[in-house]
Symmetry: C2
C-alpha cells in the first residue's frame, strides 16, 4: 500500500445484500402520515405509486436484504466504485490527516443515483409495470432513472423543472439518448401542469410542481408507477452498497475512519456511505467516529430547521413525515448545488441527528468552490457542486488536524462529477458567484405553515 | 470469469515502460523535413519548440523507454484503465463475437490524451520550462494539457479555435478550472493572430491558425515550449500504456483479439492500443490479427488520401512529413467528431498501412450515431463522437460474425466520453444530423498543393 492511489475491489467482492439500518436503530423512525387525513399510512396508501416490493422494503426491519442477481449484473457496469486516497491534496493542504474519497462519479450517469434507480426499475419491471414517471431538477436523478429504464426496457417519462430544462439541455439530451421522454414542467401533460400554465404560461416551474405532475402521471396511466431518488428509506437502503464497499476497501488500506463526511440534500448519497458505519457505532465498535452532514447555508434543514412533521412537497400530495425541515413553502436561493435545495431531509438521518449520532454544518457557495477548485488542481477530478460542499468540510477538518498535529483518517463521499455544472465553476472563477446567508426570516415564516400534527 | 463485466488491474500491474515500435519495424519511417528548405530536420531544428528528452524519444530506436516515477504517480489517478466486456451489447446485437473495450474516459479530462500530456508536462518541467503553449479544437487536448500543467505547476496557454471557444464554453471552463489561460484563436496575442484579425475581425478560426499561434507563442516567450497532442512519434509512444494494459487484461480473461478497432484522427489513441500487438504480428505470434483504423468520410486521409510528403499545418510552419494526407489546405466539413478532422495522419500508422499491417474504413455521421446510441442503451456509457466511429465498425464486424457464425474476439479503444458533445446526440435524435460524402473533388484540388519533395 506504500504509494497506491486507489483501492479497487474485484467484482466478486461487491456486496450482495443491502444493509437496513431500521433493523438496528434503538429508536423508531416516526411513520408517514396521509397528506390530508394525517392518519398513519399503510401499504395500501402507497400501492398506487410504488411497487409492492419497495413498499415492503420501506418498512422492513430485516437487517440484510438480498440484492437481486439482475441488479448486481447492472451494478457491475461501474461497481465496485474505487476508493481513492487523496495523497496529492493532503500534501497541498500540508495536513497529517489521511483523506480518502469514495468516487461515485464513475457510473454512466455520473453519480450515486443509479444505485437505487436500477433497483427501482428492476422491481417495477418484475411486478409488470411498463412505464415509470418521475421529476428532476438539475437532472442527476432523471438521467439515472432514464439509464435504468433503458436497461430494463421500460418507458420513462421525466418532468424536468422548466428553468433547468431550458438552462441544462445536456442533461435532457442524456436522458433522451437513453430513450426517455422529457418535458418541461409545468407541462400540458397533466391537470396540475395545465392549471399552473393557465395561471402563468411562463412559469419557471419548481421541484414541488414537477413532483405533483409525476405523481398524477403515475396514478392516471396504465402500467405506470412513480419513482423517487432520495429521502425515503428504500432509497437509502439501496445506497448502502457504497458504505459496505468502502469498509472493505479501508480494511485493505489498513485504516478505519475517524470522521465520515458527505453532502446532504435529501440525504441518500451520504447515508449510503455512513449507515454501515452507524452499525459499528451502535455495536460499540466505533465510539469516537464522527459523522458530519454538510448542507448549504441557502437551505439549512438540519442546522436551522425544526424537527417536525411536514409535507414532502409544495402541492401537499406526498406523504407527511417527521423530519428536519425549513418548511415545504420555503423556496431556497438559486444555488448551483441543485441537489441541496430540498426543504426536508431523510427521516432516518433526522432521527439519527436527533439522537446525536450524526452532526451537521452548513457552507456558502464561494468558500465551497474555493475548496473544490483546489481539490481539482491537486487530484484532477472536477466534482459536482453538491460534492463540493463535502470537500470544503473535509478541508476544514484537515486543517484542524494540521493545527493540532493529529493524523486523523477522513473519508468522504464524492457523489458525482460536475461535467454539466461548469457554469458554476465559471461564475466562481470570474467572481460573480453569489453567497446566500441563512434566510432566517423566510424560514421562520415557512415554518409557520407546518401541519398541526406533531407527535 | 463467468459473468465479470470489467477486468481491472491493480496499480502494481501498470506498465513501467513505454513500448517503442521504431525498435521493431522492419522498414523505416521517412524523416521530417524542414517546412521551407525541405532539408532533413535535426534535433537542433526542433529544439526551439520541444524539450530535448521528447526530441530524443521522437527518433529513439530503444524498444522500451522507462516511464518516470513522477509520471507513473499521476497515471495512478486513473490508470490502469478498465477493460470491459460488452456482454449486454453482444446480446443486443445477437452476435457470437466477444466484444471488449478499453475505457479511457475515466481520466479526469475524460480521454486518453493525458497519457501523453502528463509526460510532456513532466519533461518540460524537468528541463526548466515554466510555461507551455498549445492549440485545441474541440478542447479534448487543451483540457488534458491544462490538467497536466496544473499538476506540475506550469503555466498553460491554450489557443482555442474561436468557433469552438464560442460553442463549447464548458471545455474552456474546464481548462480554466485547472488554471490554464484560454484565448479564442485568432487572438491579439500573436502576430499571426493579429494579421488574421486585421483581414477578418470575425474569423471563426481554424486548427491550422491555432497551431501557428501556439508555435509563435513558444518561440517568442521565455521559458515556454510548444506541446502537441497527436500524430508525432513520441505521442504515440506515450499512448502505448493502453495496449500494454489491454494485453495483460485480455490474458486474465483468457482471450486474444482477432480484430482490433479504433478511430483515427491524428492516430494516437488507436496506435496506443494496437502498437504492442503489432509487435506480436511482426514476431509471427499473431499472423491473422486484423487491425482496423476507422475514419470519417468527411476527412478520409487513409482511405482516400495520398501517401506523400505534406505540411503539418495550413501556415506551413510545422515540419513536413510523409503521411497519408488529403492536403493541408483541405477544410473538412463540420462533423461533430472534431478529433477526426486532421488532414494528415501519424507517419508511423501511414508506414504500417503502406505495408498492409493495418486496414482502414470510413463512415458517415448518422450510421455512426445510430450505432453508438444502441451501445449507450445496452452498456450505459455515452461515448465521444470520435469513439462512436469505432463503435460502428465493431458493430459491423459483430454482425458479420453473426452471419458467419464465428466467435471472434473484437477489442476496441473507447477513447473518451461524450459529456461535452451531447449537441451531436441531440442532432442525431431529432433528425438534423447531416452526412457528408467523400469530397473527392475538393480533396483532388487540395492534393495539387503538396510540396514537390516526394521521396
Amino acid at each position: 500500500m506504500s504509494n497506491e492511489t486507489k483501492i479497487l475491489l474485484p467484482e466478486s467482492e461487491m456486496p450482495t445484500q443491502w444493509y437496513n439500518i431500521l433493523a438496528d436503530m434503538p429508536f423508531s423512525v416516526p411513520p408517514y402520515l396521509h397528506p390530508v387525513t394525517f392518519e398513519m399510512m399503510g401499504p395500501e396508501d402507497l400501492a398506487p405509486v410504488f411497487p409492492m416490493e419497495l413498499i415492503k422494503q420501506e418498512v422492513s426491519t430485516e437487517r440484510y436484504i438480498p440484492i437481486p442477481e439482475e441488479v448486481l449484473d447492472i451494478y457491475r457496469l461501474w461497481r465496485p466504485s474505487p476508493l481513492y486516497r487523496a495523497r496529492r491534496w493532503e500534501k497541498a493542504l500540508n495536513t497529517p490527516a489521511k483523506i480518502y474519497y469514495k468516487w461515485e462519479g464513475v457510473s454512466p450517469p455520473g453519480s450515486h443515483k443509479p444505485n437505487t434507480a436500477i433497483a427501482q426499475a428492476y422491481y417495477n419491471k418484475m411486478e409488470g409495470q411498463t412505464r415509470l414517471a418521475t421529476e428532476t431538477g438539475a437532472g442527476q436523478w432523471g438521467s439515472s432513472l432514464a439509464f435504468a429504464c433503458g436497461i430494463f426496457d421500460l418507458e420513462c417519462k421525466v418532468y424536468m423543472v422548466r428553468i433547468s430544462y431550458d438552462q441544462k439541455p445536456y442533461r435532457r439530451i442524456m436522458m433522451e439518448t437513453w430513450g426517455a421522454s422529457v418535458v418541461p414542467s409545468p407541462s400540458m401533460d397533466t391537470q396540475a401542469g395545465r392549471n399552473a400554465l393557465a395561471k402563468d404560461p411562463n412559469s419557471p416551474g419548481s421541484l414541488g410542481m414537477a413532483i405533483s405532475e409525476a405523481l398524477e402521471d403515475a396514478v392516471t396511466h396504465e402500467g405506470t408507477k412513480y419513482s423517487l431518488g432520495s429521502v425515503v428509506n428504500h432509497v437509502l437502503l439501496h445506497q448502502t452498497v457504497i458504505g459496505q464497499e468502502a469498509m472493505k476497501q479501508l480494511k485493505i488500506a489498513g485504516d478505519y475512519p475517524d470522521i465520515l463526511i458527505g453532502c446532504v440534500g435529501g440525504g441518500s448519497n451520504f447515508a449510503g456511505l455512513f449507515l454501515p458505519f452507524v452499525k459499528d457505532k451502535l455495536d460499540g465498535k466505533a465510539p469516537d467516529l464522527r459523522i458530519l452532514c454538510v448542507e448549504s447555508t441557502a437551505c439549512p434543514s438540519l442546522t436551522k430547521g425544526l424537527y417536525k412533521y411536514d409535507w414532502a412537497d409544495v402541492a401537499k400530495t406526498g406523504p407527511v413525515s417527521k423530519m428536519h425541515t425549513v418548511g415545504h413553502n420555503f423556496i431556497p436561493a438559486p444555488i448551483h448545488a441543485g441537489g441541496l435545495r430540498y426543504h426536508g431531509m431523510s427521516p432516518i438521518i433526522c432521527a439519527l441527528y436527533d439522537h446525536d449520532l450524526v452532526e451537521a454544518s452548513a457552507y456558502h457557495q464561494n468558500e465551497v468552490f474555493e475548496a473544490v477548485v483546489g481539490f481539482a488542481r491537486s487530484e484532477g477530478f472536477i466534482f459536482a457542486p453538491e460534492t463540493a460542499h463535502a470537500v470544503k468540510a473535509v478541508m476544514d477538518e484537515a486543517i484542524k488536524c494540521r493545527e493540532a498535529g493529529e493524523e486523523k483518517t477522513i473519508v468522504f463521499n464524492a457523489s458525482g462529477h460536475g461535467h454539466f455544472d461548469l457554469a458554476a465553476y465559471d461564475a466562481y472563477l470570474n467572481g460573480t458567484l453569489v453567497d446566500y446567508d441563512y434566510p432566517e426570516e423566510k424560514i421562520k415564516a415557512a415554518l409557520k405553515e407546518l401541519p398541526q400534527v406533531d407527535g
